[in-house]
């Protein structure tokens, strides 16, 4: 009886609560629907049509078939994987070693930390300009130095030769993204209770043993997350590759995102572009399922 009363008479109280509820959820839901759900649904829809933006003809999954059986699809997929794996692993190694260094509280550690922010914050375009200049075959400083020191006889056009282009793009990417792993790992390192190391020392562990038995286990989760999330981002990377090589030379650096762009705007073949986008969507969804199952990241916010 009193429950009924409480519902009836507490409208006054609930009103403000409801209002706030609306004010916080409506924008959130509306935003997600407008810029994520609808566009993704729209793209998946388009991928089933030929020429979807003009005289759309429903073709079912044939766009997908066309993309998947295209002779270069495997090359693009391979490029994406190669690029994602190499840049992720390298930037993890750079970030990890530097995080270990800065965590030693050396003089200038703070300066080093501030310096590491620059590459990460520098717009991709600027990073490309700088590295295009450094690696330029005619006036680039690296070629100039290498020739001077006698390492190479002829300047190398790093960004425009088939065997070097991917490496050049990868180095540029690692330069920009190495600090991501650095900051996350540094935060984890600094969160390790120093008593653990003191206890290990009292119990007779060497520096190496302490590193292996305390540091590494504490970093394991963060390292896995970095590999996964950074890996996904690098797999999906568009701008850094597009700005440095546009996917060339001869598709040597064409990854799936680059291909999506080409199909959409150089074709234009929106059916094919959205079909490839759909394939990327399902790939990501597959990885996301694993991510959600293994790491349960939503536990951080929803109990």
């Amino acid at each position: 009886m009193s429950t009924v009363q409480s519902v009836k008479s507490s409208f006054g109280k609930l009103d403000e609560r409801r209002l706030l509820l609306l004010a916080t959820f409506v924008p959130f839901a509306a935003f997600f629907t407008l810029v994520w759900v609808i566009p993704i649904g729209y793209a998946l829809g388009m991928s089933l049509f030929q020429n979807p933006t003009a005289d759309a003809v429903f073709v079912g999954l044939s766009n997908y078939v066309e993309i998947l059986t295209g002779e270069e699809f495997l090359l693009f997929l391979w490029n994406s994987v190669l690029y994602a794996v190499s840049t992720t692993v390298l930037s993890l190694l750079v970030g990890l070693s530097l995080a270990l260094v800065v965590n030693q509280k050396i003089r200038g550690g703070n300066v080093l930390r501030t310096m590491m922010i620059f590459p990460y914050l520098l717009p991709t375009l600027v990073v490309i300009f700088i590295w295009k200049f450094i690696l330029d075959p005619n006036i680039g400083v690296l070629n100039q130095w290498l020739v001077e020191w006698g390492v190479i006889a002829e300047p190398i056009a790093f960004f425009s030769t088939i065997q070097w282009a991917m490496a050049a793009v990868a180095v540029t990417s690692v330069w920009k993204f190495g600090s991501f792993a650095f900051f996350i790992l540094l935060a984890r390192l600094q969160a390790i209770d120093p008593n653990l190391y003191e206890r290990a020392r009292v119990e007779g562990a060497s520096t190496w043993q302490a590193f292996r038995d305390i540091t590494i286990p504490h970093l394991r989760g963060a390292i896995l997350i970095i590999l996964l999330v950074r890996g996904i981002w690098m797999f999906n990377k568009f701008d850094i590759i597009y700005l440095s090589t546009r996917g060339g030379p001869l598709n040597a650096t064409t990854t799936l995102p680059i291909r999506v762009y080409e199909l959409a705007f150089n074709g234009p073949n929106f059916g094919g572009a959205t079909a490839l986008a759909g394939i990327m969507f399902f790939l990501l969804a597959g990885v996301a399922v694993v991510y959600f199952k293994v790491f349960e990241p939503e536990k951080e916010v929803a109990h």
Partner: protein, 375 residues
Amino acid sequence: MARAIHLDSIRKEYRTAGSVHVAVDDLSLTIPEGSFTTLVGPSGCGKTTTLRMVAGLETPTSGEIAFGDEDVTDQAPQQRNCAMVFQSIALYPHMTVRQNIGYGLKVQGVPKAERDPKIDEAAETLQITEQLEKMPSELSGGQQQRVALGSAFVQDPDVLLLDEPMSDLDAKLKAELRVEVQRLHQELDATVLYVTHDQTEAMTMSDQVILLNEGRLEQFAPPGELFDYPVSDYVARFIGTPSTNLLPAVVGERDGAYALEGDGFAVSAPADIFADRVGESITVGVRPQYLSSEGGEYELTVVAEVVEQLGTEFVVHGHTPDGTAVDVVSTEFGGVEHGDELRVGFDPADLFVFDAEGQTLCHGDDLTKSPPQSH
């Protein structure tokens, strides 16, 4: 103006994914206006939930709450004229101490010229005048707690609610703040409801104690009564340190005389209570302070395990020959060592007797009154 707090059949459930957790179950009681009442119990017993329902931060699943004659069950916390001191202290980190204390008044539209004298007065009472212009992060834990009390003080609430306000402080600060809280109670015209898991705080500060056990009311009584007349072994063990010793016993009968027979003792028992319980298992409770080396009407053997010194007293943790744990508090046992057998005496007037469910059958004074002539 202080108001009595009436709780009528309060029940609070939390539903999570199919399971229902009952935090408070059928709680009915009246807290007299202007009194200092403590809600005590182990963690998870529902005391904080009860306090939060009084504050209006939680709505009871069923039941009613009234302040005086006014039903406040459905009132928002803003409307109840309560003040609350949180366990986490909950000072606004972006406001100075002065602004923190005065925030409630500001919300109520009291102009600054009127706020300041009140804040100054509160600060003086709580000895934080010098901290008034500082930020909370610059204060020590004890000072922060004083600021929280000051905020309650200036509001002149009808009901002052304190949720384990001292649980994070050290013993010395606790003692100081206990005095402050009681002074606050004297100066304010407010009903104080104080939540703690520390029975010492409950026993020393309050007019009444509400002891909860898994969401249910176990006993609601003044501290002395709780100590001397527990309604169950739960109360007897929760109140007082070390906990009341519980000795298993059986009701025996020999030639029309009844006795509580345990390991090494047989306490004669009145027929009017025990005549129809012959053979039943019961528990005899005796506080460690009431066991003494200087004899008593009955005696008990205790094998010492650990001896702790507390000032002039010694606490012997031991067991009876059959293994029941027994603590003894006395000034006499300084030389006792592990493994020593002690003979300790007790008087029937100090005993509690509980039935197999833990409910009190009788207290010591029932055991000592002259047995009725006829049966």
